[in-house]
Point group: C2
Chain length 620, copies 2
């Protein structure tokens, strides 16, 4: 068997309590590798067409990659996937922390959860010792309480816990899954799937590091990167992702007032710099990482914010802040704490709330609908209250618990024009009128609007270290962020495949490894004579499986859309004012992306492409 | 500037005698690299649409690759290209020997010949000293005489000479260009182009080795390969390519009687083993190679064969032997010597003669047409005489000097069904009814039927070292040689692109470097942070340029064909008897190949694909 893997996948059936181990073999790992690769394979193979995402037929799969848990900087990532109750299509999400590495230490490359328990349970795993344990006493509790309880019950304070919160228990469709309290599998409603299985948590402890083929190469790579981080990434350590609130605001790329505007007059009040100078008390990181980009805030003022739950990242400052027109940093930090304590995705929660706010301001909703809450833009307290209501499916919260698209459908009255989503997934804090390729990326993403496996056009607007690094991937020409045509589609294809790959290798995108260094690391860890080309092919295989899954579930060409708002002029006092996504160019770029992916003009993978990827089985 | 290059391209205009040097810069080399990459760029950019291949508008380009002339085993290759007078489309051909390495030593990555001299000339190059010299006294001479004379005139017996023979002087459309007497740029009629320019030869001597970025890695690679050759390639040294006469004959893949049959009753008489045991007196090789796969034969019997001209390789034993039904090894060796002394491509010459033989046997030609020669299958003396007649455009030879397709057009009377060619280029000695993917490869090759940038299906019929080596290229599944479908098209795409790449890097395909080793070598030589992915993209860029060139010159979907014979049952007493290429499957595979190449259903590169390759300029 290859290095980097255990060739062991744990399969737990919660309907009948069976616990099995599978050994899929080297050919499987070489074709599907890890994370999204493994998840897309099992979902396509085993989840029946039309299965209820919240029913026993759905699988919930935690999957590591070959690099997860190895001593390589940034190897603390892990994915969880299932058919998404939020998009009704392919779903997965990735998180950092320590759980993934611990799963590998326990000897598992992945854990597949089948069926549905009839009462609340959690899994307690110590290497081969796997127990399904009663969780009735944990049900309804905050995530920090549950983490503490499980560690105590397992008798090991170093056990790692992944879990859902109350939102997941309640099958809120925008519920997340939480690693180690402060790391989140946020998107696609994976928390609802876990909740539907009555599985509150998995506690895990392992004793075996994954074996490495060539430790010295890895050590050498780490030495170079350690130095690089120390010398060049002070900003990322100091401010994390929050640094970009102010910089995006300056160029017109900070989603504001439910994406009406690209800049926010209160941006600086919710910026990373302000947070650093006020409530930030610490930063933290993941397994094998010295960047420590995660925030920890503590507030004991108008709001009390418990530092156990970390602090808001850029996405959250945007979604709960500018997108809702809120410049009250205390409220944003409180909203973040509640999402984390209750298990809600901050992006979807924020955008669902900003949707409701815009409906409210336009008279589509009134206080009668919103349980008397004055849910207007800028009302921080309303946002905080709505988060609790969503997690508890309380009153108006029950509607927003569906996400903005189903909520808009239920509200009617033209509310849909304010639902900022693709395939039901709320738009993250990246503006397509700034990053034009990213807009097409939202359209084609298998999980709906997503910024992680997407192009960030602004990175490649001039020749520079970033772009030179991309030469080995076949990207050797800078393009303006505003360009939208066939050339941009090529950049989107390469850029997004490469970021999909990080969800397969399970290496953090924030650690600035170059593709060539990652290629070296893959060889060093696995012992495979592999290549960037093979790695990109593995990625294409996974992406095509997600595409086939969605097509099988009824998705069509028309589901690759952008909200109409992005075709309308951007507002706000910023250099990008008036910018639009040109509909004709977007269609050209979309079709070119299909073409470059080997998909036909309706976005359906051709037989030749599937033959290339050895995926003909998936259409039979 | 990058290592491995001089950033100097010599441009000689024979119309007005100007000699210039160009410095295209790093970006050019990174995009077009070498050999076919450089040639396809300049032909597309500078040869006007519809230009007469034998007129002054055509260019003749000698292009090395980054590896040519470096101290890497197998780096003795070089290409020459021009618009082909034989196919009327994109033309190039590759050869070994020493000329390419010497061109690099003289400080040139490529030599571009423009215009047309009004009298016979040759180029004498010593580093920067470039002279256009009178060659009237060399006109009409044999290649060995010319080589000797030029070395003497240059006052350097170590000068290297590339030249045409009498056939090239006469603009015979199947004339070759000769390196160092025994290495041939055989295909595409490049000798006729050189002849049309009144350029008999280029003599060259240089003093500067190309600079290498990382010599120690190269040394290490060479050490490994030197050992590998010594231990595992004895057969290739002992028999060269001639080893496969018997083995292909046994399976039904030896083209016989103008491709009617796949086995030849006289095969063993013209086999490599028989040659070894009779007329072989030596073997030789190319710059920086210890394989020494080239043959040297000497005969002083019914035929006198001068060892200065080397000896026949597999292709020649097939084309002048079995394909013409000739089992007289002396005659085959004589035919080979004459082709080499007179500058004729042995493949095209042999297949043009086998075409005439079949016409003759079927009453389409008679002795009145053939200058009284009894040109029936098996008549070795007739073949030998025809070679001289072709080279001299003497009598019936003038017709065959056009190649079999134009000859068949002139003959009429259904002769075309015996013309074994694609795009006018005669089929080499590889049978599509054995290697089904290769048949599609013949259809789509930019230079017409070619076995070099093609898939040899028989290599990948089971898992093994060869296929494992291809994992990094994205080929990880064995397929039967007889399979013909979308999966085979993927294998053709990857396999043929990889072999196209060897015409760009200019590394010999016979030295068993794995893709990963070549990737390492490319990095070591150039200092580029490159990858197999970028290398394959550079290759796609070149292949797309050749495709665009052909489309511009009027080629269409219907020009991607196979001779009808391959759709008919194979004959002969062999296991493959009755095998056909299935026309429906061939069409499926052809369309799948287009699809995987990013070409539309008519085989036209899509705009998206051209944008990906940064080739939009080529359609404007």
């Amino acid at each position: 068997m290859s290095f980097g893997y255990h060739n062991r996948i744990l399969r737990v059936n919660l309907t009948n309590g069976t616990i099995k181990e599978e050994n899929p073999g080297e050919d499987f790992y070489r074709k599907h590798m890890g994370g999204r690769g493994i998840i897309s394979y099992y979902l396509m193979k085993e989840v029946p067409k039309g299965a209820d995402p919240l029913g026993p037929e759905n699988l919930l799969i935690f999957a590591a990659g070959p690099l997860t848990g190895t001593p390589m900087i940034g190897s603390g990532r892990n994915s969880v996937g299932a058919k998404s109750p939020h998009t009704k299509g392919y779903g997965d999400s990735e998180a950092g922390g320590y759980f993934g590495a611990e799963m590998k230490r326990a000897g598992y490359d992945a854990i597949i959860i089948e069926g549905q328990s009839d009462k609340p349970v959690y899994l307690a795993i110590k290497d081969e010792e796997v127990q399904i344990k009663n969780a009735t006493h944990l049900w309804g509790k905050l995530t920090n309480e549950v983490e503490k309880a499980i560690k105590e019950e397992m008798g090991d304070k170093n056990a790692r816990v992944t879990q859902i919160g109350v939102a997941g228990e309640n099958q809120v469709l925008i519920a997340n899954v939480v690693n180690d309290l402060t790391h989140f599998y946020g998107r696609s409603g994976m928390g609802a799937v876990m909740g539907s299985k009555n599985l509150r948590a998995i506690g895990i402890k392992g004793t075996r590091l994954p074996k490495i083929k060539d430790q010295s190469t890895l050590t050498e790579l780490n030495k170079v990167m350690g130095k690089n981080i120390k010398e060049n990434m002070k900003g990322m350590t100091e401010l994390g992702t929050t640094a970009i609130v102010n910089s995006l605001n300056a160029v017109g790329g900070l989603p504001t007032y439910n994406f009406k505007a690209g800049s926010f007059e209160g941006a600086d009040k919710i910026s990373g710099e302000t947070m650093r100078d006020t409530y930030l008390i610490d930063n933290e990181g993941c397994y094998m990482c010295t960047v420590d980009c995660k925030r920890v805030v503590k507030i004991d003022d108008r709001y009390k914010v418990n530092p156990e739950f970390g602090g808001p990242e850029y996405e959250t400052l945007g979604s709960l802040g500018s997108c809702c027109g809120i410049d009250d940093l205390q409220a944003v930090c409180k909203g973040n704490e509640l999402c984390n304590a209750l298990g809600l995705d901050t992006i979807s929660a924020g955008v669902a709330i900003s949707f409701a706010m815009e409906c409210y301001e336009n008279g589509i909703l009134s206080k009668e609908d919103t349980d008397g809450i004055d849910i207007k833009f800028g009302n921080g307290q309303a946002m905080v209250e709505m988060i609790e209501k969503i997690a508890n499916k309380d009153g108006f919260g029950e509607l927003l618990a569906l996400g903005c698209k189903p909520a808009a459908e239920k509200i009617g009255k033209g509310a849909m024009k304010y639902a900022m989503e693709v395939k039901g997934q709320e738009i993250p804090m990246h503006e397509p009128r700034l990053k034009q390729g990213l807009g097409i990326g939202y359209m084609v993403s298998p999980t709906g609007a997503d910024h992680c496996h997407n192009l960030h056009d602004t990175v490649y607007t001039k020749m520079g270290p970033g772009l030179e690094n991309m030469f080995p991937l076949g990207l050797n020409k800078p393009l303006p962020a505003s360009q939208l045509d066939e050339e941009k589609s090529h950049m989107l294809k390469v850029g997004s495949l490469w970021r999909h790959f990080s969800n397969i290798s399970e290496l953090c995108q924030f650690v600035p490894w170059s593709p060539s260094q990652i290629e070296e690391a893959m060889k060093a860890v696995t012992g495979w004579q592999t290549s960037l080309l093979e790695m990109m092919q593995i990625t294409e295989r996974a992406v095509n499986l997600t595409r086939l899954f969605n097509l099988r579930e009824g998705f069509e060409l028309k589901d690759d859309y952008l909200p109409e708002r992005f075709y309308e002029p951007l507002e706000g006092d910023n250099p990008l004012k008036g910018a639009i996504v040109d509909k004709k160019q977007a269609d050209i770029a979309l079709k070119a992306y299909y073409n470059l992916m080997g998909w036909d003009e309706n976005g359906i993978p051709t037989k030749a492409k599937l033959a290339e990827l050895d995926l003909l089985w998936a259409i039979n």
